[in-house]
């Protein structure tokens, strides 16, 4: 009879790595999404092109290929990344590309008269974004960002293939050591689902917080 509690601890250690990857990946994705999303709306054409290339490239190839490329090809160019860093980089940039389109869409959906009003009030570009456009655009982005965060959580499973000891990797270890398949895989399926629920719940809270005071505006 294998020592299940010991193996469960192993999987929970993996869960910690998965959580860490998700949080760091989300942070990078958020930054990338705003930078690329705003760049796509920039008045300077080359900036727009650059953002489009970034977005199309990362949305056009799969996360799996990107991860392998970062981990196996970059070392030949003299850039060696730890598996964790490679994972965060690939996940963040990939999901960030999807997020950029969300940012762009949400900003464009703010009514035009809001822009005209800021011009009439002589606000600077920064003040316009910070105080008028973004407060109205953010609540529109949140639900999709929530979905993207769950996609990122699910994509973290792929990093187990570049030998990062996340939850999926640990499940494979348990499978290899015990020969049991149902226990490790069912456990991590449930844990992934719990994490996804947690994200859904967190986003809902955030949404309530952000739409406060916006009643009657939309």
């Amino acid at each position: 009879m294998p020592d299940w509690s010991g193996y469960l601890t192993l999987i929970l250690h993996g869960a910690l790595v998965t959580a860490q990857l998700t949080v760091m990946g989300c942070a990078l994705a958020l930054v990338a999404a705003f930078v690329a999303g705003l760049a796509r709306l920039a008045p300077v054409a080359p900036v727009r092109w650059l953002a489009t290339v970034y977005i199309e490239f990362f949305r056009g190839t799969s996360i799996f290929v990107q991860l392998f490329w970062v981990y196996f090809v970059l070392p030949f160019a003299g850039i060696t990344l730890s598996p964790l860093l490679a994972g965060v980089l690939a996940l963040g940039l990939n999901v960030g590309a999807y997020g950029a389109e969300v940012v762009r869409g949400a900003i464009l959906s703010v009514p035009k008269d809001q822009y005209e009003a800021t011009i009439a009030l002589n606000l600077t570009r920064f003040a316009r974004m910070r105080h008028v456009i973004l407060p109205q655009a953010l609540p529109l982005m949140l639900p999709t960002f929530g979905n993207n965060a769950i996609e990122l959580l699910k994509a973290t499973a792929v990093v187990s293939l570049i030998s990062l000891s996340d939850m999926t990797f640990q499940a494979q270890v348990v499978r290899a050591q015990t020969g049991s398949t149902l226990f490790p895989f069912l456990t991590i399926l449930i844990l992934y689902f719990a994490m996804a629920m947690l994200i859904t719940y967190g986003i809902r809270l955030l949404e309530r917080r952000m739409t406060r005071g916006l009643d009657g505006v939309r």
């Binding site: 199309e56 490239f57 949305r59 056009g60 190839t61 799969s62 996360i63 799996f64 290929v65 990107q66 392998f68 490329w69 196996f72 090809v73 030949f76 769950i150 959580l153 699910k154 994509a155 973290t156 499973a157 792929v158 187990s160 293939l161 999926t168 499940a171 494979q172 499978r175 398949t181 149902l182 895989f185 069912l186 991590i188 399926l189 992934y192 689902f193 996804a196 629920m197």
Partner: protein
């Protein structure tokens, strides 16, 4: 390390072989996803709660967990229950099931977009539930959703490299094989990326055409 065109020419046939399998898997999985998604969407609308509730939970569960783990589950756990599937079949079922939960949402939006009067007219003309779905609702609900469905087809295509983890010899696995035997990673990995990018970009063009042909869902 430098880029070697001779090596590229040498490995391209193997990669194209993998690409063929990748496309085959994509088409088969897409068929499973398209059919199963419709089944899920209709089952979730069932008036019988004993059907609607468990199906809803199942769909949410599949959507909240990674495809890779689901593939492992099908590939490693099911044989223990006496269901032994070849890797290719396991992959197609796994991907089809996973994306069915996405297409189910697309169908749901399409179904909800069918005017209420259509349901009422079906009831008034005394159609059975089955006739209502087959002859009234589905023919109106599905065509406007074709562009959205095609979007998931592209997403599905990009997920096929995951099948290399359950030993399917698709493009990514071919690339890994040649990379491991020759210790050259730049060319195979980059080529795989280029193939994916090329096919994705072509499909985006086709998608735009589909959007024009069938129109976006009217808001």
């Amino acid at each position: 390390m430098d880029w070697d065109w001779n090596f590229v020419a040498e490995i391209t046939p193997a990669l194209l072989q993998g690409l063929k399998l990748t496309l085959l898997i994509t088409v088969l999985s897409a068929l499973v996803a398209a059919v199963l998604g419709l089944v899920f969407a209709i089952a979730r609308r069932s008036e019988n709660r004993l059907i609607a509730r468990p199906v809803s939970f199942f769909v949410e569960f599949i959507r909240g967990t990674p495809l890779l783990v689901q593939l492992y589950f099908i590939f490693y756990v099911l044989p223990g229950a006496g269901i032994l599937l070849p890797p290719l079949v396991a992959g197609v079922i796994g991907m089809g099931l996973h994306y069915a939960t996405y297409t189910a949402e697309v169908y749901r939006a399409g179904i909800e977009n069918v005017a209420r009067g259509q349901w009422e007219a079906a009831r008034a003309t005394n159609l059975t539930t089955r006739q209502t779905w087959v002859h009234v609702i589905i023919p109106q609900a599905v065509p406007p959703m074709i562009p959205a469905l095609a979007n998931y087809l592209i997403a599905l295509f990009k997920e096929t490299p995951l099948l290399s983890a359950i030993t399917v010899l698709e493009m990514m696995n071919q690339a890994k094989l040649v990379a491991n035997s020759s210790y050259r990673y730049i060319e195979p990995m980059t080529l795989v990326g280029v193939f994916f990018l090329a096919i994705s970009l072509i499909s985006v063009v086709i998608l735009r055409w589909l959007e024009q042909r069938f129109g976006r869902l009217a808001k």
